[in-house]
């Protein structure tokens, strides 16, 4: 990065943060601080929901996922449209009717105080860790690539978001998210079109797809019923629906975004905007990774994209072994490139048999350079097991650094940080709200003034901001970033979703049965995750398992303790 990149980066990030702080300055009541001005229209709600979900991992790690594994990851989002429909039709009207600040306030009205606290506590635990991950994600990759100090990167980016979130509350979060998403889309679009322009001349888009397809990168849907496979239509549709239902419907960081709409109509349309756009957006981010893969068939990539891993390898392994790896990789890649050029010529001259032979030779050469990569990774893991060999997170940033012009590099790095800040702002806002409304006001001080609760909310938001920074400072991930975020969500979302499903649909189940059913289901999911071998069950299934077990256990407990008394009947009904 040069001076121009740093100017673009700091102007965009600090400019948006400063503008958000300035526009939302001044005193406000608790409603204004936690829900905004109540005038938010559907498009802004839609962008805010999108910006809260799409963290830096979405834009940094998913192109790498596309590069390595192709389009299959898009299936993870297949359940999202249906989850959003259920939320718009059932959850949202009740949240708005009860005029709640948090989703857990609804649990208190439907069940009792302890069940409300359990829902809120699970959210704080999961989201408190998640907020740390949100800020850790771009910091670890970008500090590694640019040689920045990791601690300083985490602290500086963390403090920027704390300042405007604490100052302006929900309104500042929504306002800044709108502009941050603009930066993100501008950056991703720039990368996409520059990448297309940098593909070899004479390579039509149909050729690009043929190459990607030939290397199995375009397998977007997989109808396999094998539960051990991570990405299938079924795990995405059912597991993904439960994950999305839990995340969008019961996670306060999302609920807070859409209950602040000017009307039920605006909130609903904001959700439907996401229901329509989510899968295409993820598809294009993955496709970007696939295009980078095709690009690197004609331009030699490094043996390992993760340069920290590569440097660690060079320190731990004799120089002649490193030279051998590099030489074999270069030869294999040159052969692959040559064969693809032969394939392209044969394809243009309609010589099908020559084209097939050339592509087969290119595939063999590709397998050879992949085996060099695997050998390098395995050598690293045995020589320096403490060094992360994760490649996915470094693919896109490596391409950006080597092939995008200055200025655009700054724009892309700003986009990654904008994604992290927008996501973290939504999370901190929600963590502060839940702590204030569900714990502080509910347990410690029920009769405070609005000004008192706004001050408390500011302090709690700042507390969670600092906690997230501390979590990020001590984080150490073995998974790639997007996987880690989804695994964390899947492990902690199933049981709370079961709790909300009981609240919405099973009126005969009381608070005590729901409370113990949720607690037991959460313990079971944690036990399965930690005791079963890795990938024994695709992590998306934990959403389904947690929800179903929660509902079944609560129903069984209710059956054992007998029907609920009439006075304990729900005070709210859908």
């Amino acid at each position: 990065m040069n001076t121009l990149d740093y100017v673009v980066l700091f102007c965009l990030l600090l400019g948006i943060a400063a503008y958000g702080t300035w526009r939302t300055r001044g005193p406000r009541d608790l409603r204004g601080y936690l829900k905004g001005d109540g005038q938010t229209r559907w498009f802004v709600i839609g962008l805010s929901v999108m910006a809260t979900q799409a963290s830096a991992t979405t834009f940094l790690s998913i192109p790498g996922q596309g590069y390595m594994d192709g389009l299959g990851f898009v299936q993870n989002y297949f359940g999202a449209p249906f989850a959003l429909i259920i939320i718009a039709a059932v959850f949202l009207p009740l949240y708005r009717k009860l005029n709640v600040y948090t989703a857990y306030e609804f649990l208190g009205r439907r069940f009792d105080g302890k069940t409300r606290l359990l829902g809120a506590a699970l959210f704080l635990l999961q989201r408190g860790i998640g907020a740390g991950l949100t800020i850790y994600a771009p910091a670890i990759v970008l500090s590694t690539v640019f040689g920045w100090q990791l601690d300083l990167t985490i602290i500086c980016s963390g403090l920027v978001v704390v300042v405007y979130t604490v100052s302006g509350g929900s309104e500042a979060v929504t306002l800044t998210q709108k502009y941050q998403l603009g930066v993100i889309f501008a950056g991703m679009a720039a990368a996409f079109f520059i990448l297309l322009a940098k593909l070899p001349s004479g390579l039509a888009f149909s050729d690009v797809l043929a190459i990607a397809g030939g290397f199995h990168k375009l397998q977007a849907v997989n109808f396999s019923t094998n539960v051990h496979e991570r990405y299938t239509v079924w795990s995405g549709l059912f597991g993904g629906m439960f994950l999305a239902l839990s995340y969008f419907g019961t996670d306060q960081s999302q609920v807070q975004r859409y209950i602040s709409g000017a009307s039920l109509r605006e909130s609903r349309l904001g959700l439907m905007f996401n229901a329509v756009c989510k899968i295409p957006m993820q598809f294009f981010i993955l496709l970007l990774g696939v295009l980078i893969f095709v690009f690197y068939q004609f331009e030699q990539p490094p043996v390992l994209f993760n340069q920290v891993a590569w440097q660690s390898l060079t320190r731990h392994v004799p120089a002649d072994k490193i030279q051998s790896l590099e030489a074999r990789f270069t030869v294999a890649h040159a052969e692959e490139k040559h064969q693809l050029e032969v394939w392209l010529d044969a394809r243009k001259s309609d010589d099908a048999s020559a084209a097939a032979a050339a592509f087969a030779a290119a595939s063999t050469a590709h397998a050879a350079d992949e085996s060099v990569r695997q050998e390098a990774t395995q050598t690293l893991q045995s020589a320096a097991p403490q060094t992360s060999a994760n490649e996915n997170d470094y693919v896109f940033i490596t391409f950006i650094l080597h092939y995008l012009p200055h200025g655009v590099i700054g724009l892309l790095v700003a986009a990654f940080f904008a994604a992290a800040l927008s996501s973290k702002a939504g999370e901190l806002n929600a963590l502060g709200s839940a702590t204030t409304v569900d714990f502080y006001r509910h347990i410690f001080k029920a009769e405070g003034t609005d000004a008192h609760y706004v001050a408390a909310s500011r302090w709690f938001t700042a507390f969670w901001g600092v906690t997230a920074i501390l979590v990020a400072l001590f984080a150490n991930l073995s998974e790639n970033l997007i996987q880690a975020a989804n695994i964390l969500g899947s492990v902690f979302y199933g049981a709370p979703l079961g709790l909300f499903l009981i609240a919405f649909f099973l009126k005969w189940i009381s608070g005590s049965a729901a409370f113990w059913g949720t607690l037991a289901a959460q313990v079971l999911v944690l036990a399965l995750y930690f005791l079963l071998p890795k990938d024994y069950i695709s992590y998306l299934w934990y959403n389904l398992i947690g929800s179903v077990v929660c509902v079944l256990l609560a129903a069984a407990i209710q059956a054992m303790i007998g029907p609920r008394s009439p006075e304990a009947a729900p005070t709210v009904t859908p």
Partner: protein, 44 residues
């Protein structure tokens, strides 16, 4: 000043009820997955 439709109206041309909006979203989903399946079939 434009009047805001009441909550039970969608305000969308051609999609007057919320049920029709949800069907529209479902149709878009089916079309998108169909296109992805075609892409998978064509290039695998």
């Amino acid at each position: 000043m434009k009047s805001v439709p009441p909550d039970d109206e969608t305000g969308l041309p051609g999609l007057r009820s919320w049920a029709s909006v949800y069907w529209f979203v479902t149709t878009v989903f089916v079309v998108v997955v169909g296109l992805l399946a075609m892409l998978t079939g064509m290039y695998s």
